[in-house]
Symmetry: C2
Subunit: 516 residues, 2 copies
Amino acid sequence: MERVAIIDMGSNSIRFIVIQVADNKSYRLEYQQKEAIRLGRGMSETGRLNPEGVERAMACLHVYKHMMEVLQVTKCIAVATAAARNAADGEAFIARIKQETGIDIEVISGEREAYLGYLGVVNTIDERNYLQFDLGGASIEVSLVRDRKIVESVSVPIGAVTVTDAFNLADKVTGAAVERCCDFVRKKYEEMIPWAEGLNLPVIGVGGTVRNLAKMDQAQTNYQLSRIHNYIIPRRRFEEMYTSIVKSNLSSRKRMKGLSSERADLIVAGGIIINTLMQFTGGQNIIVSGCGLRDGVFFEYYGEQYGYGEKAEKGPIVPNVLRESVHNYLLSADHRMEHLERVRNLALSLFDQLKRSHGATRRDRSLLEVAAWLHDSGKVVNYYDHARHSAFIIAHAPLYGMRQLEQLKAAFIAGFHHGISNKIMRAYRYAMMLTQADWKKVRQLALLLALAEAADVTYEGVVHKIDVADDEEAVVLSLRGKKGEDHSAAEFEMKSYCKQFKKEYGKPLIIMWQKN
Amino acid sequence: MERVAIIDMGSNSIRFIVIQVADNKSYRLEYQQKEAIRLGRGMSETGRLNPEGVERAMACLHVYKHMMEVLQVTKCIAVATAAARNAADGEAFIARIKQETGIDIEVISGEREAYLGYLGVVNTIDERNYLQFDLGGASIEVSLVRDRKIVESVSVPIGAVTVTDAFNLADKVTGAAVERCCDFVRKKYEEMIPWAEGLNLPVIGVGGTVRNLAKMDQAQTNYQLSRIHNYIIPRRRFEEMYTSIVKSNLSSRKRMKGLSSERADLIVAGGIIINTLMQFTGGQNIIVSGCGLRDGVFFEYYGEQYGYGEKAEKGPIVPNVLRESVHNYLLSADHRMEHLERVRNLALSLFDQLKRSHGATRRDRSLLEVAAWLHDSGKVVNYYDHARHSAFIIAHAPLYGMRQLEQLKAAFIAGFHHGISNKIMRAYRYAMMLTQADWKKVRQLALLLALAEAADVTYEGVVHKIDVADDEEAVVLSLRGKKGEDHSAAEFEMKSYCKQFKKEYGKPLIIMWQKN
């Protein structure tokens, strides 16, 4: 077993995480701490690190050093970004840290910062082409990603802390000040990232400002989940929030729903930097990433040590984001993997052969696959009602590569793997996020999973293959297996879903054992 | 590792469970099957087992035998009750089972049946004095429990299946037939359990009929959980359901909300037997137990092999139901036990010293203890938001010894262990089951847990002891630990709850380090 600590010292905050890598190579977050140190405060005037920020950082690092011993950390990777990079006394500060705590912090270049942020996103969000930004306290990294490869990447030295200071935006701001600031930011973009103008690609945002905007949107629209990663802020909502932020003074911002009072001073500058970027590039919505630099540091390290994908190929890029995170989560518990694999294969085979009847998409197929792999995960809570507990776990586990609504759909497909029941909607408020059409699709796919699970009810793989005749009048499943094996239990279980099948697919289901 | 299979062949249904006992002696349910075989159908006329029932039972037993091999069961305990006990061909049937499947089934006496049912209840419900009944297909076991010991126990040979047959109660019934049946049942009680008359003790009910009545009540009153064990059916609600059941014919019963269509024929007889018992003994409400005979079989076996309680004393009775189940659940995952124990001790110490300010009861103290032990259990779902996930797990885990509402309170106390947040109520619909007063108590206790957790934020036990001065004007916590140890992180974390403390306790919280 390994324990990897990652420290990310930015201009606004310092973060510390510890990830455990088990002997079977599964990894999971074990500890995290975060502190607003504001190292970059006042830097735009003085060119030096904020003295109180330096002491706050030292105090945190002493604690982290200590926690690394307590937690028996085997490897520490520490990086520092814009503040330490740009300050005249940055180097001396890093030396002091080394001397006082023994922690070796690497001051990384803007380019490497952007690259690590890119790794954090490309390995946790399933998009191929997008513009990514990571807004920190003293800089914004902007990267262009095409076909999951980073093709442009620039660190623009404007950040939420430094711009707040430079334009005096912490409290009440005048329209003229906002305009001046927007002009300044836009000129920086024109100068440093001219390739981003009018791109009109999906925009993925990283950093405290955009995370807090997501929280505001969730609080103000009564969103039923409180997860940030892969949340989408519609352009219109972003503009509404932006407008209300720049119009308010500090004390009324502190009372805004969802806005952290710690960030109420920086949010104007942050909002301007993002809004100007959105106008500059022409992006429609903002996809929020909860993963960024520190996740990128981990993905790079893990990929080098252990590799990703079925062949465990070395390298920093996860080939299939969704599959990797599901596989990793599965490894953390004691599962009957052969059963899961058989159920997954049968469910997908039913999906493919019944395409005409359900008309579901390739994405839906992925959701069915996730549900199949994780349909028994709820047993860790309680064997009884484990289908419903699996739904809870899938909705909340650290799975990547699905939109939030997709993750909920996968959750409910698994939740119905012992048949359709309304009880599940009774338990979870976020069930109301699905539309009637979503529920129809969930129920149709859930029945395929239920049939696949029933086919392996005895955990022995008696059903090797299911041939489907998807006729106008009826659906016929012909089960195939080894001659002489007892398949009565599987057949019996499968037949128990005929009634629900007819209801959801509008035609009868006939199940027979194929003689051969 | 051990895997224990238990088969319980009754007059109405047959049940099969497999419980895994891990190397660290923690046990958890791994598999279960249940089939309505109706072995006792028609027995009151013929005196013999129902021939179709016999074949259904044989088919099930073949499947179970097979599953025991697949699941690598190391020990099988199989028992048969009233039908096999009373039928003329019972013995021959048991011999046939042995011959065809190799499964050794023990036909147990009515007294032993009652005793095992008693073990299932006394080890999973935290009551000391009560009347217990277990209504099966061909008999009802009635036991009197005083101070957790069984003092009377009789198997009365009337059951849901046999009485349905004898009085022809499957479909539409006349008022006269109901009256005749009630008279018959009452006479049996007068004859066989005269000691139960007018007892006026809490009544705990076991068996399919009472479980189904609980489900009906939950469905008809929009109850937000779908858990049966330790659910309470109020006397008035029982009578309402009973009245509507005996008035309806089979087809309208099949449409009743919450009534299983499989049981719609037996529910009249079942209702009469229970209603007559309630009138006879004078019990007010029915506490429903989802655990019974098969759980009792397991508790007896496990207690003999491994023992219960801190000293692992051999014997079938769990000394502290709540503690045992929490401890068992904890063992099934990888936890920092020392941290949990410190947090538990500090939380309870704060509770005891602040009694005057919160005025909470001894039961509340137990709930705080459960929350303390399990406050980190949600990490198995996701480190992020783990407090809220712990709330989910505590609400759904197989914990015994708490009423359902108590279990929810313990869940929400743990859910707030990083501070009070309204988000938790957004996620779970069953949050609405708590009253304003419940929430107040939950928040007050949660803050004690949050303070205790904060005191051990570094997992090192720097805070050995907290002395509380609970003054009219303020609460002062004096922290004590080893001289020279760094306690700044703990102090800092604890102080972050001062504001919430003032809100919930109505006076300021002062935290200081005690010099000594």
